[in-house]
């Protein structure tokens, strides 16, 4: 009986490491998803004015595109966050939790930053295309026809 009790006491606790892994996963998901939501909301709020300008003040179209971009952003980021969740290393102790978490979060933040700049690039590209349509010829004319009214008559 005594031997049996000793056996139980000396048995390594399998739940301990699992708990730390689960804690890491939980903290990772909370942090990563809340960061994604924060970046998405910032983009949604501050990107609107860019889009309104791109669509010549058509606010309805701008809001629609803004919303679609937001959905795409959420899908891509949350998809990446969930794919990147699993860790192969054994997590032991509080130190292990922090190390695993900072490594994961670092990559997620870099990906979020990359996505953010990509979004900005798309916005400026769209805005540039919209402003191009109203630009005058880039090279000033070399001559000017003396009798401009006659020319307009022949058009």
């Amino acid at each position: 009986m005594f031997h049996y009790l000793l056996k139980i006491q000396n048995k390594p606790k399998p739940h301990n490491t699992m708990n730390e892994t689960v804690i890491s996963y939980t903290l990772y998901l909370i942090l990563a998803v809340s960061m994604t939501v924060w970046v998405a909301r910032t983009l949604h709020k501050n990107g609107r004015i860019f889009l309104v300008d791109c669509f010549h003040g058509n606010t309805e179209l701008a809001d629609s595109v803004n919303h679609l971009l937001l959905v795409g952003f959420y899908l891509m980021n949350i998809g990446f966050v969930s794919l990147y969740l699993k860790t192969a290393d054994e997590i032991a102790g509080a130190r292990g939790v922090f190390e695993a978490l900072s490594g994961k979060m670092g990559v997620v933040l870099l990906v979020l930053g990359g996505m953010h700049f990509f979004n900005l690039y798309v916005f400026t590209k769209m805005r540039r295309r919209a402003t191009l349509a109203h630009l005058p010829p880039p090279v000033p004319p070399m001559h000017r026809v003396s009798k401009a009214h006659d020319i307009l008559d022949t058009l």
Partner: protein
């Protein structure tokens, strides 16, 4: 500006090919092509004979602005939807100098370049079409 008139060389295959290419592109303004030596061109732009349009391409806006050579090429690109960004790049002073040289070389060798590339001019095509005879009920090129 709503209309851009391009006084091109209808005897040159390269220029005629360029005209067809430009008309295939989506443009911001209406493009009007006229052979530089036609009566119609002289009527629209009386200053044309003084500009030596036979040496370098001349482009005119509907406000009477005239461009020639590299400036005319850049203005042609500016008129096209897909190439407006390129025209802004080419308009920088450094690139304009290179463009001026390239355009001048192309303009002075345009006939030999057309022969080399086997491009037929609008005039040659027109001459061929005018030889079509339809007397027998079916049309044939002589």
């Amino acid at each position: 500006m709503n209309t851009l008139t391009i006084f091109y060389d209808a005897h040159c295959g390269l220029c005629s090919r360029f005209r067809r290419w430009m008309l295939d592109q989506a443009a911001y303004v209406h493009l009007d092509f006229m052979p530089y030596d036609s009566e119609q061109a002289r009527k629209r732009c009386p200053d044309l004979p003084n500009l030596r349009a036979d040496q370098e391409i001349v482009v005119m806006g509907d406000d009477g602005s005239l461009w020639q050579g590299a400036g005319a090429w850049v203005t042609c690109l500016w008129a096209l939807r897909e190439y407006r960004e390129w025209s802004l790049r080419l308009a920088s002073p450094g690139l304009q100098q290179i463009a001026r040289r390239v355009v001048h070389w192309i303009s002075s060798n345009r006939i030999s370049l057309s022969h080399l590339l086997r491009l037929r001019s609008d005039d040659a095509l027109r001459a061929e079409v005018s030889h079509v005879s339809c007397d027998t009920g079916t049309c044939a090129v002589d």
